[in-house]
Amino acid sequence: MTEAVSTQRKKIHPHKFTLWIGIGSIIMMFAGLTSAYIVKGSMAGFTTVQMPQIFYYSTAVMLISSFTMQWALKSFKERGMQQYRRLLTVTMILGLAFICMQLIGFSQLWEAGTKMKGSTGAGQFLYVIFGLHAVHVLGGIIALIVMFIKAFSARIRNYNSIPVEVMSTYWHFVDLLWVYLFVFFLFKL
């Protein structure tokens, strides 16, 4: 078995690799949606909306959570388990805060008169695209909860950093994806 291992030594771990391909797949999904926006945005009668202020703050929250996630990974690798758990918790709370802020932003838009029924403009795209991004963040939060339970379980002692690395890569990805979507809408609105 050692020989087979030695050939695979320099390669990226399969789970990490799979995540990168999965990220490619998610990118295609949002590329599809934002290009749909571009196609439809160029048509006559396309209405735009005002970007709610709160999305600026949620961007900040998301960026900070990326930072805490990276810090958590660093602590894990240095076997600072106490700090790892604390930072994991902070990341999770920031993630939840992000989702709440997105929901507040949606409700503000809704109050301002952007409804689903009838004609469709930038506002409806914003609901769908930002909503779908929030679903991806939620998926990340669920993964964080699983890691959180593992980190606090007394039974399992695991120092394999691959799951944490996969987690942090995904988290940075949803962060970057948000920045892309936010900037896209800032330019388009």
Partner: protein, 602 residues
């Protein structure tokens, strides 16, 4: 990547503990049902796909009965189909439902799930030299999402308003408005749910296939030593990973239009059934078509590439000659993969697309002829002056090449936007895509099943039945679809229940009867294949040697009944490419044999 050696070795040892252990006891459920063994999962995909193929094929028999004999009634139809065939005649709604479901089932559940699901799972670890997929767990989930999607799709056949009936492409407004037709109600919701699950299944599978091919090859198995099957399955997975998510985003917008009242695809609609004008404004149905065909066209190659790869491998093995132009084969697969993403709008030439844009897509579409022609040339030169062993697998591979040429040539007609003005939505299109991707992909699949059946079940399929199956299906396929070209050139449109009101198409009355009759015979022949398949699992001639076809590839170095983990002991090391046939006076040299001192290195 910034991790050191130690931790990687640790994780790989863990990895091998999971898969190398094939001694421990497994219950029936973990071994055959919720199995994580890629070989079992492959068989699950295959058998589910076969059940779907029978259902989808039976649907075509039903609507061919209507098309061949539009003036007759068949009281027994009402006994089977109930309200779908009141008075023994298929109703227009159920006719649409039948053609819609026939398309959806055959394109997605048989020729995507059943074809690449089976052979990517079965062959990638075996031919790359891996104990299993990169993530066996995800692989298992991939099958169960497929199964779940299958159940939901199947259930839509049994609801009162019937399954979705707006065509397999599910264009809005028929797919977006429940009031538009009976099939647009619950049937459409089930359709979209099933398709969403199918997309998840494809993505989980595809991630695994790519990851396994790139990361888990055995020692010495460089990419350029891979058999062409693996290259083809690899590109298939790449196509799926990049195009299915776009379909999903199209579906998400469709769901909002259906259930939240948005107008992404809808504009200025008046529904006659409810006598109602809708408030939707500014939507664009073309937008859906763009999103759909961005998947829809790569989907064609998702169906076709595995068949191409398997045909390449089987032709070479049974011609006892190396494949001609290996790198050209890989290059043309790559070119097809790239071009697949750049031609989607040729499905939309007559939707009001900008003619200039259309001409760009004509050019890109016709470019596909180049890699396709390279492949055909290489297949023909591979069998040129060779000593062919006419095994059933080989016959089907040859049939695949024949059908791919015949169907590909009509693609050149349809790729022209000007000719398409006349030919679009006629039987010419039906004939073209049934030959080039329907039947030819089926031939690739049959070739693969006959060729790898000994590896799957340790037995051979019956040759006599296989020969009857081959000749009957090949002749039948041409007899069914060749005449449709003439009908299409005469302008006969697709998707009509009854042509008898058109006097210009009355000349085709007898031809339609003929096509219907042949279709029924060919369907019966497929049941012969199904019988052969299941009969041979238990009663077929036993495989007694490790390598019954004298092939070079790694799957034939495993035991006759490989356990979970594929190889007992170490995974063999690879020293050469997969196509050393008739070299240096030897019939074949396995990939595992080191290069000899006097041997020219490939």
């Amino acid at each position: 990547m910034s991790h050191g050696h130690a931790e990687v070795i640790t994780t790989h040892e863990v990895h091998h503990d999971e898969h190398g252990a094939h001694h421990h006891h497994q219950s029936f459920i973990t071994k055959y049902i919720f199995s994580q063994d890629h070989k079992i999962i492959a068989k699950q995909f295959l058998i589910t796909g076969m059940i779907w193929a029978i259902i989808g094929g039976l649907m075509s028999v039903l609507f061919r009965l209507q098309l061949g004999y539009p003036d007759q009634t068949f009281p027994w139809l009402e006994d089977i189909l109930g309200n779908w065939a009141r008075g023994g005649k298929i109703t227009p709604e159920s006719y649409y439902a039948l053609v819609t479901m026939h398309g959806t089932i055959l394109v997605f559940f048989v020729l995507t799930g059943g074809l690449s699901g089976t052979f990517a799972n079965f062959l990638i670890p075996l031919q790359c030299g891996a104990r299993d997929m990169a993530s066996p767990m995800m692989n298992m989930l991939s099958y169960w999402f497929f199964f779940g999607g299958s159940i939901v799709m199947l259930s839509s056949l049994f609801i009162q308003t019937g399954p979705f009936s707006g065509g397999w492409t599910a264009y809005p407004p028929l797919s977006a408005l429940g009031d538009a037709s009976p099939g647009s109600k619950t049937g459409m919701d089930l359709w979209i749910t099933a398709m969403a699950m199918f997309v998840v299944s494809s993505l989980l599978g595809g991630l695994n296939y790519v990851s396994t091919v790139l990361n888990l090859r055995t020692k010495g198995m460089s990419m350029t030593r891979l058999p062409l099957t693996i290259w083809a399955l690899f590109f298939t997975a790449v196509l799926g990973i990049l195009s299915f998510p776009v379909l999903l985003s199209g579906f998400i917008l469709l769901l909002f239009d259906r259930h939240a009242g948005t107008s992404f695809y809808l504009s200025d609609i008046y529904i006659a059934a409810t006598n109602q004008a809708l408030p939707n404004e500014g939507g664009s149905a073309i937008l859906y078509q763009h999103l759909f065909w961005f998947l829809g066209h790569p989907e064609v190659y998702i169906i076709l590439l595995p068949a191409m790869g398997m045909a390449s491998e089987i032709l070479s093995v049974n011609a006892r000659k190396p494949i001609f132009g290996y790198m050209a084969m890989v290059g043309s697969l790559f070119a097809i993969t790239i071009l697949a993403f750049l031609v989607w709008a040729h499905h939309m030439f007559v939707t009001g697309l900008n003619p200039f844009l259309g001409s760009v897509f004509v050019l890109l579409t016709l470019l596909i002829a180049v890699p396709s022609a390279i492949k055909v040339f290489n297949w023909l030169t591979t069998i040129w002056k060779s000593n062919i062993k006419f095994t059933p697998g080989m016959l089907f591979a040859l049939g695949f090449v024949s059908l791919f040429i015949s169907g590909g040539l009509t693609g050149i007609f349809l790729g022209n936007s000007t000719l398409d003005i006349h030919l679009h939505d006629t039987y010419f299109v039906i004939a073209h895509f049934h030959i080039v991707m329907g039947v030819s992909a089926f031939f690739g699949m049959f070739a693969g099943i006959y060729h790898w059946f000994p590896k799957m079940y340790g037995r051979f399929m019956n040759n006599t039945m296989a020969y009857i199956h081959f000749w009957g299906t090949l002749i039948g396929a041409y007899l069914i679809f060749w005449p449709m070209h003439y009908e299409g050139l005469a302008g006969m449109p697709r998707r009509y229940l009854d042509y008898s009101n058109w006097s210009s198409f009355n000349q085709f009355g007898e031809l339609n009867k003929f096509i219907s009759t042949v279709a029924m015979i060919v369907f019966a022949l497929q049941l012969l294949f199904v019988f052969n398949f299941f009969y041979s699992i238990w009663k077929g001639r036993k495989v007694t040697t490790l390598n019954p076809w004298d092939a070079t590839t790694l799957e034939w170095t495993t035991p006759i009944h490989p356990g979970h983990g594929n190889w007992e002991g170490e995974i063999p090391e690879v020293h050469r490419w997969a196509y050393d046939y008739s070299k240096d006076g030897r019939d074949f040299i396995p990939q595992t044999e080191p290069i000899g001192p006097n041997e020219s290195k490939h």
